[in-house]
Symmetry: C2
Subunit: 371 residues, 2 copies
């Protein structure tokens, strides 16, 4: 195999597939990427058996062939080469020679035969949306998946398609984040659970361009994202997702409209007084047209007032401030609406057009004795 | 005590003194800064007993007093406040109230009485140089102090003044880095060993402005840096520094002029093949008007040619590539001169006007069998 690349094109391709390379593995082949130039295209592939990425890059094939090569070492070498033509050539023993200007490096590779290719995806059922929308919808929900996999289903996100709506749901037992996206077309119904890790990696590769599309294909066990010159294939999480609709409610006793930036600022200051693993609640006291937030901890105390527009009853309610901060950070609206029933029932942050719903469970609190 | 600050001025002062706050300490007072407004100025002080920093900041004193307050918590709170007036007020129990717009936070402080003030420095002997020069001279030498303190003296740098020259020396047993700076005036002779940690922190605080001066004062046990509104006082390392002049030599058998960027690029690529804690040498083979660098390791091999201007004998010599990289990264010249005698004797990288000398000891190597 002998190929000439432009360094930036090769490096760009490597940066994409590196997202699917195992960082710690007992099998050297899982730390490799496959460079495949057996056909007319040059494909780079990485596959950690959960997540696989394949991307096609520009280059001039002088000799056909393929080789598996340590991903980290190979990409670090390419990164440090001058910005010029890079030639790679492998011999019958899979020794790879990398040449650029007067520099020549040799590193041992492996036969591509042992490499696990991406599973073949039957491209039947799919949806199409912009890279921007997919990247945003991941960012706006991914923080509320569960960090550990005591409950495997909570480490993924529900992707649910119903006619022309994509609903993305993440929940961890303390909160639920829901985003609804209107698609340009109608599609057949779908309901799959996508691993959070896959979504994190896909989101890093997506350019986020409004004018570039992503096609998402569904099979029984896999989801496949196609965009630019890249294909990402991931296993799905098996099982039935939680019945989220049963947890939602349109009833409320107190509705409050509030400036998002002011509330977020106050909450961000309050968490400075909360040591990690300490679950001091922030107390929100809605009285007349005013919200007073307060927090007491071993480190100190804080209190802050802000104006609100309130409908319904006065209410005092406590939250883990970090959960409220997480939701507010991904809402772009300047003014937000909070819907609450009482100090034991969930609080909903949602907009009128139904593009988002953030449900946060309250926590018990002792009334603040800040004087 | 009651003071009104502009948030940016307070935050800027905090960022300076934070450099001298112990990160891990069993004594809470060492994690504090002192806010002192007993006089007409407002001074912030931090002192970890090795290094002390005091800075004067703008503010409006409405009530005199002083307080010691946890440095990390206080500065994180200030950072998260709106960019506006910040009022701090302490009561008789040293409870500190921080107010900004509608936000009010309270954190417990301590009496300033237990706080260790900076030692009084008798401002006799001194030198003056620009912030730019001091910051540069630290950057250009600090990498070659010893990381661990098996030999305490090696963890510091020699600051030696002789008439109008400041010589800064750092060495770790494998290499020596020397920078000579011409001062504007003549000063009395001085020879002190300054802790590397002090120089690292001072270098972070220095603006690096060519037009701003630093005054350095010397006493028997301390060094004091005065610049802008800030005073940094540090203990010196006791003992006699190594006799560096005995290690230097003007003799050589081979002198080579080489493009710095080309050599650095080759070396940076070579270290990608060297695992950490593995001491694979880079072999430099100077033959006629050409340098071939090569390295073999368990990860692979590399070879690179570059043109040189050579005087004297051909030579093959091995180095730890990281030591050569460290020196080349802080030399600004496009072309550098290497002076060597044989494969067992130190290599000198130095300029003709004597502003820098980098001595690097060679290492044993097996001739590369790169084919």
């Amino acid at each position: 195999m002998k190929i000439i690349f432009q360094k930036p094109a090769l490096l760009n391709g490597l940066n994409i597939v590196l997202k699917a390379v195992s960082s710690k593995s007992t099998m050297p082949i899982l730390e490799c990427i496959l460079i495949d130039a057996e056909d007319t295209n040059i494909k780079l592939t990485a596959n950690d058996m959960e997540l696989g990425i394949e991307t096609t890059i520009e280059g001039n094939i002088l000799g056909k062939g393929k080789i598996a090569i340590n991903a980290k070492l190979f990409s670090e070498i390419i990164r440090k080469l001058p910005d010029n033509d890079v030639t790679i050539e492998s011999d019958e023993n899979f020794l790879l020679t990398i040449s650029c200007e007067k520099s020549k490096l040799r590193i041992p590779g492996q036969s591509g035969e042992e490499f696990s290719y991406l599973p073949d995806i039957e491209k039947g059922s799919y949806v199409c949306l912009s890279q921007f929308t997919l990247k945003e919808v991941i960012r706006q929900t991914i923080f509320s998946i569960a960090a550990n996999d005591v409950n495997k289903i909570m480490t993924g996100e529900l992707f649910e398609i119903n006619e022309n709506t994509l609903r993305v749901v993440a929940l961890d037992g303390h909160r639920i984040s829901i985003r609804n996206v209107i698609l340009k077309d109608n599609y057949p119904d779908q309901k799959v659970i996508v691993p959070g890790k896959t979504l994190n990696e896909v989101s890093k590769i997506l350019s986020g361009d409004v004018d570039q599309d992503v096609y998402i294909f569904f099979t029984g066990n896999h989801i496949c994202f196609e965009f630019d010159n890249t294909i990402v294939v991931s296993r799905l999480i098996e099982g039935e997702y939680f019945r989220v609709n049963q947890m939602l409610s349109d009833n409320y006793e107190t509705k409050v409209r509030i400036n998002k930036k002011e509330l977020l600022g106050g909450l961000e200051r309050s968490v400075l007084l909360v040591r990690e693993n300490d679950n001091k609640p922030i107390v929100l006291n809605f009285e007349d047209e005013k919200l007073e937030i307060s927090l007491n901890s071993s480190l100190g105390s804080m209190r802050e007032d802000m104006p609100v527009q309130k409908q319904g009853k006065d209410l005092m309610i406590g939250f883990n401030p970090r959960y409220v901060i997480d939701a507010l950070r991904v809402i772009d609206d300047e003014e937000i609406d909070l819907y609450m029933t009482n100090a034991k029932a969930p609080c909903f942050i949602k907009d009128e057009k139904g593009s988002y719903i953030y449900l946060i469970l309250p926590v018990n609190f002792l009334p603040a004795n800040y004087s």
